[in-house]
Subunit: 467 residues, 2 copies
């Protein structure tokens, strides 16, 4: 562990005002801008907005409404920061296209990095996309079109085409002179990618390594060949996994023939990780990608499908119960207790299922250990099933003074918790095998199983042993 | 959009074998190592393990068991890569301490970056921690102890003490000479942090900017003052939020007096983002941090608390049903239908709740828009409640040929979905206000409410209107 000492000589120096940390936008600030817009004080609005980070400006645009939003967009137009665009939701980007026109919008796109340009063009509808593409300079257009041709969620979509690649026979001095002389460089880069004459990546040199080396040293002598090379068609989840696992900062991307075509940097990966984690969590609750800013109607509609499916499964469970109407008619205590069995099964199953979904996403659960993990889950189901069988049995016995009723609910509880564990681990594994996102449909299958089995086991056992 | 052309002259060059992408460990490979260990072929084991990335080595150690794991650890000992340590679960680290002894373990810690050292020491039990600390050189010990004194989940815990800071009156040439002459540098850094004479950060210079500038230029003239400075006591979730929002790569950390004490880099943040997302998802299902490698017994125990709570709430719901035993006795159809009402309420509520938990984590849901979002959720509840009221009503009517029963279940469905929406959004907001993690306890509160309200509304209305 080495702590580098800084060498600071004591010279007097004025205090420097450091920028305050900003977490999202201060609601008072939004209100202030809103009022200034209302009062038509354009100059004040410009002064308020000027110092904002582009992410904050995007938030501000999003949190204003109607006329005020349009006015703000118009006010920002003379020096609109293109970095704002990728941060906005689709409908607001459409509004900006409408107000700015295709030519000006294309000019903004031209200023962005290629990955952001591809991201935005991809989200426009076909006619808008064609209009904007037509107004881009030919080189940019080619690059964006190539990007759009890569499959969705692939490394090709994610990568930036802007990169720093130099031949391996160069010296450190040549590389530094090249960097100094060359105005057209990507805005940010942390490594030099070293390529062979066929433009295939053979190593990387981190900039701090380059800075510390002497000028005559050859790049091939200081380059690290332990690098991970991504293929354009790699899935973004796999890319993210590799970045995380290997603590990568930047990785070269090659086409099918192994030629270097782009690079992916960790800041793009952060967004992917965020999205994937969010997707899993939302899908388990039957939500698609969602914005809390979305309108009531859109939100309601986006949730209906899931509720419809659930309505179907709940009706199925009800149909199971109706098989036992005669039994229920004779022993109403069963109606009181049966939701306990179903609810416990659902919860225990969701525990197994959520941990399986997460482990699949983290690639900790694989075909090689699936059998062992499944066996473990079933054992957990047996343990906890036994525990809650006793507990539910005792409660039922005390409450209804009926020891046989207690035994029936206990047996049903054990059965349902073991079944819940088995399905909780199996459903995501099967969906993964079928190349369906395990988070997407798992929980509805699971609760169907636990409801049906719970009601059937409890009421069935009751019919046999209690009547 | 600028695409830097690389200048590659055509010189013949041998093909370079690029490393294959590795996703987790190949199960066949693990089996091969396992067999070699079984057969006592130490040399083969060493050859197999030598080319692995430290993350893969850690995985390999984790996936072996008992004797074989111990043998592998012993075989790796002569040149054990310290980077493996942070990747291992606590119990395996304990085994390594046991086998290596405190002195050798401390020597490995000494080679790690300070943030990793603090992370590992923090997870040892008190006596182990004291033993290892006692064997660290005094400077390292001081740094680790300082790190351990920062609150858990704070920027102070996360930061690395190793950093590159230089005074602002230096020139580019001076900085480069300093880097060249100085062997004791942090292994990786992407920016120079520029400090004033009181050691407070006043700006940053990205390395690629440094490389491109001429030697006589002063750092203060090329430094960017638009940087975000973190405080040691900042919560790691807030740090992650800032990195994401501002696309930061590295940020300086200052103590209370504003002096530079460390830096946080984006690769640490990736882990934080991952953890926080995982926590939210697992907590919604009542799981604590969990490993699929954990033993059956530990897994079962870790899930019992949640199931106990759920048993309590399910019993509460059963108690509500038992209030209406007389009603159920007269009309057994109610027992068949009542789970539908409760289940739909639970699902609709979880949709509102999950989207609120996620929006809170992303700081999109704040006190300023809480009222508006809550209003929207209730409206969504009214829309979808009406839709499913009609649907459930028609199903009940057709199934039991009883139009009044259909109207009762419809009314109960509407009530329960509106209540579910209201509580789905309110519970996480209240927990957040009370500084309780909204993901931790939300879903159990919610399903209690939707069960109780669902059964009460349906059976209550039935008692009034159907008997």
């Amino acid at each position: 562990m080495i702590v580098a000492e800084t060498r600071v000589r004591s010279l007097p120096r004025e205090e420097t005002g450091l920028p305050e940390e900003i977490f999202g936008l201060d609601p008072d600030f939004v209100a202030e801008v809103d009022q200034a817009l209302e009062a038509g004080q354009d100059e004040i609005v410009r002064e308020l907005v000027a110092p904002l980070h582009y992410a904050d400006t995007a938030d501000l645009i999003e949190s204003l409404h109607g006329e005020h939003r349009s006015r703000l967009i118009d006010l920002l137009r003379p020096d609109f920061n293109p970095e704002i665009l990728p941060e906005l939701p689709d409908d607001i980007r459409d509004e900006i296209i409408e107000r700015f026109g295709y030519a000006d919008f294309a000019a903004l796109i031209e200023e962005l990095d290629s990955d952001d340009a591809v991201y935005i063009l991809d989200r426009l509808d076909d006619s808008e996309q064609a209009h904007v593409l037509a107004r881009l300079p030919i080189e940019t257009r080619t690059i964006v079109e190539q990007g759009l041709n890569y499959p969705e969620y692939s490394a090709g979509r994610l990568m930036q085409r802007e990169l720093m690649a130099v031949p391996d026979y160069w010296t450190v001095g040549e590389a530094i002179d090249y960097l100094r002389s060359n105005a057209v460089l990507p805005e940010d880069f942390y490594v030099l990618i070293i390529v062979d004459p066929r433009h295939r990546p053979v190593g990387v040199v981190r900039l701090n390594r380059l800075l510390r080396a002497k000028r005559p040293v050859r790049l091939r002598d200081i380059m690290s060949t332990e690098m991970d090379v991504l293929k354009v068609d790699m899935d973004q989840e796999d890319v993210a996994f590799l970045f995380r696992r290997k603590d990568l900062l930047e990785a070269p991307v090659t086409d099918v023939s192994g030629r270097l075509v782009g690079r992916i940097t960790i800041d793009d990966i952060v967004d992917v990780i965020d999205e994937e984690a969010e997707d899993d969590m939302l899908r388990l609750a039957g939500l698609s990608e969602t914005s809390i800013y979305a309108a009531v109607w859109d939100t309601a509609r986006s949730r209906v499908t899931w509720l419809l499916v659930n309505m179907g499964t709940a009706t199925l469970a009800a149909a199971v119960i109706s098989l036992f109407e005669a039994t229920l008619d004779q022993l109403v205590a069963l109606a009181v207790l049966m939701p306990i069995v179903a609810s416990m099964g659902g919860n225990a199953g969701m525990q197994a299922l959520t941990s399986a979904v997460r482990a699949l996403a983290m690639k900790e659960l694989t075909s090689s250990n699936a059998r062992r993990v499944a066996g473990k889950e079933v054992m957990v189901g047996v343990f906890n099933g036994s525990l809650f069988a006793v507990l539910a049995g005792v409660i039922a016995w005390l409450f209804f003074s009926d020891v046989q009723l207690g035994m029936v609910i206990g047996a049903a509880m054990l059965i349902n918790l073991v079944v819940a564990a088995l399905f909780g681990i199996t459903i995501p594994l099967v969906l993964e095998r079928l190349k369906i996102d395990p988070a997407a449909a798992s929980s509805v299958f699971l609760t169907t199983v636990t409801d049906v089995v719970g009601f059937f086991a409890f009421l069935g056992l009751a019919t046999i042993f209690l009547l």
